[in-house]
Symmetry: C2
Subunit: 232 residues, 2 copies
DNA sequence: ACCTGAACACCGTTCAAGT
DNA sequence: ACCTGAACACCGTTCAAGT
């Protein structure tokens, strides 16, 4: 796809395909239309290229998604407290998770790609190393630290993925309809059999304060590991 | 597909297709070959039927999967303590999660279907109602209870899905190879840059004691909510 | 080195038709 | 009521070929 005209050199009408541009458009597409919209064929179409072109840059789709996660994790900026050995370990690990939470919240549709791919890129390994360092410093064993770090990561992924009120659809009308259907299904329940479900109904659908929601999620994890940490 | 012979009535060579048999085979297939093996076409093939036959029993694949989750949740048997108001609330909720954990562990490949589908069946609603009741009794608000119940569910799903050492593949040789590759990737890391990752390496690959693994996961959640519960 | 073209083996699903 | 047959609009991926 190059313009060839007499006397002029071939001028590519689009940017040359690179790993970076592919990952960029994959992430943008996921953000805009959800992860299920991210297909090899669709990405190729958007880039004005044949599907097979992508296979020169990535061996398969899985490696492409690894790239998306790597790009995501590289956007995490850690506050200074995380690196400061003098600050209490529970605060350091909260700040670490909080920093990741910020990035995940801006790309909620790819959040659940992260856990299994965490250790498949240097940004992910660096973050893991930091988390493990803090947990080891708190007295946890290597095995416990590994498990707890995994739980922490999954906790924040869960938070962004199930934030009440968030939707994948870009269509406002469909979105409203889903909400109505959900509400109707809950209202139809027997008040005698499901009093607590009905009382919590609004909590399932939309939460009043987003910050309260995320704070509670982080608190749950932090208080949990605080209780489990070996006494100093 | 019926044997018609002179003088004999038509005898169906296979069981009549029902929602139950379809859900049964879907769950069995997922257990045996992983969730990605569960396709409409494959299920139809196994039942000796046309793919379209399934659409008479389920409007689409999603509703079929709802059925799988419903069947799963219906297998949960709650210990008496869960129902006993006299027992401390933290112990009751631990037993509730433990009972679900038992069932999830026997069907790890479908575990991650559960969270979003929890409230789409009566077994799921019943379990949710119980959990919310216990949490409300501990002093949490309806909204907090909803969020915490979701975290509890996700915690046990996470535990069964990421249990170190578990694999989807049925092929022993491929399984060994994956393990070797994983180990090699970790061993290749710089000991200077990733000391803690390397120290925890075995914890990422396989855990020594399964019960210690699951106990720690449950403890983390229970201790978390215990710390967050309003003082009596 | 970078990309195209044709093909393969799959998906979920619709729609009309059979018994 | 319960199932078939043919078709549609998708997937990821391989393999050979072009420049």
């Amino acid at each position: 796809v190059a313009k060839k005209q007499a006397g002029f050199p071939a001028v590519p009408v689009r940017e040359r395909l690179t790993r970076e541009t592919i990952v960029d458009s994959a992430l943008a597409l996921a953000d805009a239309e959800g992860l299920e919209a991210v297909t090899i064929r669709r990405l190729a179409l958007d880039q004005g290229v044949t599907p097979m072109a992508l296979y020169w840059h990535f061996r398969d789709k899985d490696l492409l998604l690894n790239g998306v996660v790597e790009r995501l994790l590289s956007e995490v900026v850690l506050p200074d407290v995380v690196l400061d050995d003098a600050t209490p370990w529970d605060l350091r690990i909260r700040e670490l998770l909080g920093a990741m939470l910020v990035v995940l919240r801006s790309h909620p549709n790819v959040a659940d790609l992260v856990p299994v791919r965490m250790m498949l890129s240097t940004p992910g390994l660096d973050l893991t190393e930091r988390a493990l360092g803090v947990l080891r410093g708190a007295g946890f064993s290597p095995e416990q630290s590994a498990q707890l770090a995994g739980h922490g990561l999954s906790s924040i992924v869960l938070l962004v993925m199930t934030e009440p009120g968030r939707q994948v659809g870009t269509d406002a009308e469909v979105l409203e309809q889903q909400l109505r259907t959900k509400r109707a299904a809950l209202q139809a329940l027997s008040p005698d059999r499901y009093p607590n479900v009905l009382a919590s109904a609004e909590g399932f659908i939309a939460c009043g304060s987003a910050s309260a929601y995320f704070d509670l999620g982080l608190d749950l994890f932090i208080e949990g590991i605080r209780s489990l940490a070996p006494a100093k």
